[in-house]
Assembly symmetry: C2
Homo-oligomer: 327 residues x 2
């Protein structure tokens, strides 16, 4: 294992300290390093809190700021944060208008966010994200995994919360965005969790993992390496077969790098995916390309398609000011 780290035990703390210092204009770290919150807390709006295992940076802490999350709770690498940390974030973020938790569908996250919600004094509701069409149940989930579509849910709900949407409407909107969103990914290499010291899985020189999870969980199949066009065709077929968008629909196409893939390849994949969606009768009205929901240094990418309507498009376009997403 060759990584830019010091003591394995301190990897997360040192990285979070660097993150908080580099973005001190936008975010502030809880002194106990339990959560990251906005530098200037929002007033009188429903608070959005997310979190989960670390190793997916910039998700979630990189999306704390105006127009997106109010607080994010990082767990250890690929490990859910404990309920006490989540509770601390809920209490710090709640301005009296209640809190919506955005939770990726992994058993640990679901359980720990639920326990925190039960302990909280204020009103707390949950939006569950399970956008990954690759597998129905997996190593860490009952049902589908939540992956890169989480960003889409956080951005759109963030804009709606900023505009004053009430808690029950935010929960309904979150369910609607999740239902309009599907993802699937492919790995060209494994990642190595520092505390493990060895790659999470092994791929041959010419092999890929189709449908990989963001912790390196197995996907649908191990396959020989093929062209970007062929990979895109397989991922989009799985996504569209499940999403069943109406012909002529407008969509957001999000090409997400897993950490070890350069942006030039991601843009090439975007080009291939955009063309294919148009052949399928969809129009790519909004785009996002970058490494936003990662698996440490894993090479590969995922595709996410969200069917847009006027409301979702307008909320996607609303200003956002976070360390990792700004416009």
């Amino acid at each position: 294992m060759k990584k830019l780290i010091n003591d394995i035990a301190n990897v997360l703390d040192e990285s979070l300290d660097g993150f908080a210092a580099a973005h001190a204009d936008l975010v502030a770290m809880d002194p106990g390093r339990r959560f990251v919150q906005r530098r200037t807390p929002a007033q009188a709006k429903v608070a959005l809190v997310s979190g989960g295992g670390s190793g997916h940076e910039p998700l979630h802490a990189g999306f704390v700021g105006r127009g997106m999350l109010d607080a994010a709770v990082p767990g250890a690498i690929f490990t859910s944060p404990t309920p006490d940390r989540i509770l601390a974030a809920i209490e710090a973020a709640d301005t009296g208008a209640g809190v919506v938790l955005i939770v990726k569908n992994y058993e640990g996250d679901v359980m720990n966010f639920e326990m925190a919600a039960e302990m909280a004094e204020g009103e707390v509701a949950r939006v569950l994200v399970d956008d990954d069409v690759a597998v129905d149940n997996s190593s860490y989930t009952i049902g589908r995994r939540g992956v890169a579509g989480t960003l889409v849910v956080e951005k759109i709900l963030g804009a709606a919360a900023e505009k004053g949407m009430a808690l029950p409407d935010l929960v309904a909107l979150g369910a609607r965005v999740n239902a309009a969103t599907r993802s699937m990914g492919v790995a060209l290499s494994s990642c190595t969790v520092p505390a493990a010291g060895i790659p999470t899985f092994q791929l041959g020189e010419d092999e890929i993992e189709v449908g990989v999870g963001i912790h390196g969980e197995p996907g649908r199949r191990r396959a020989p390496m093929v062209s970007a066009d062929a990979i895109v065709a397989e991922l989009l077929k799985a996504i569209l077969d499940d999403l069943k968008p109406k012909a002529g629909s407008k969509c957001l196409l999000f090409v997400n790098g897993f950490g070890g893939t350069p942006s030039s390849e991601l843009y090439l994949v975007f080009n291939a995916a955009r063309k294919r969606l148009e052949v399928e009768g969809l129009s790519v009205a909004r785009s996002l390309v970058g490494s936003y929901v990662t698996s440490l240094e894993m090479a590969g990418c995922s595709l996410t398609v969200t069917v847009l309507d006027d409301e979702l498009t307008a909320l996607w376009d609303e200003p956002v000011s976070t360390p990792a997403l700004r416009w």
Copy 2:
């Protein structure tokens, strides 16, 4: 070689098409794919044009937009763009107020940008960037290499040009920013140029290349892997010995990923570098962390330090709206 590509001959075109489509709100591609320019050209200001070999994305095309470049000319991977392409970009960008070329110090770039400047009808001047302290001469340079500090020059000159600074003053400012800026990098792995199909260089399981160039050129020494703190200490010593900043100086600290290193490691490196600069009596007044000047999928990072004064700080803070840098 396992990459998300189709035909090796079309890698650059397909990637550029994806880039232009994903950021069609900000940039436009020349129909002949010779250069990328702003979607809405600026009026009556000195134009800034940069470019160079591809493979360093988002440099340079990702920095085209309001507050930064007017046009960028991508060459083949790790290969300077030809003079005719540069000339086309100069002519498209010139509004009559002249053009400043921002050129990284590599022989091919220097020669081709000079030829284009000579062929141009309008006033054209050049700012040369040579911020890499690692080696004095190298595979492709007489003198020092231009690396991640190029981003700092492009951002600060971009802000000054937007505010109406005249051409000779921009050239002087560019020289001043370059003189206040030093960088040095370290590679943990090689990259693979698609057309070559094999890694540019070989590193052992536990080896690093200290002072590596952004094309995988050799640095100062091949060394055993050490901690992030030790790497940061060596890079910053080389930078500060050369830069000789006054005690108490404010600086910009830019931790740049080479493409294959996750942001969590970059933030950990930022944390280490910031602490060390403070021990050295410098104050980190501005920060940038991310993979901005890359070498395809190479793992590793570079550190860049720019000594700031009030003018440079204010220009750094000016709004910027490009695909890869926005605030």
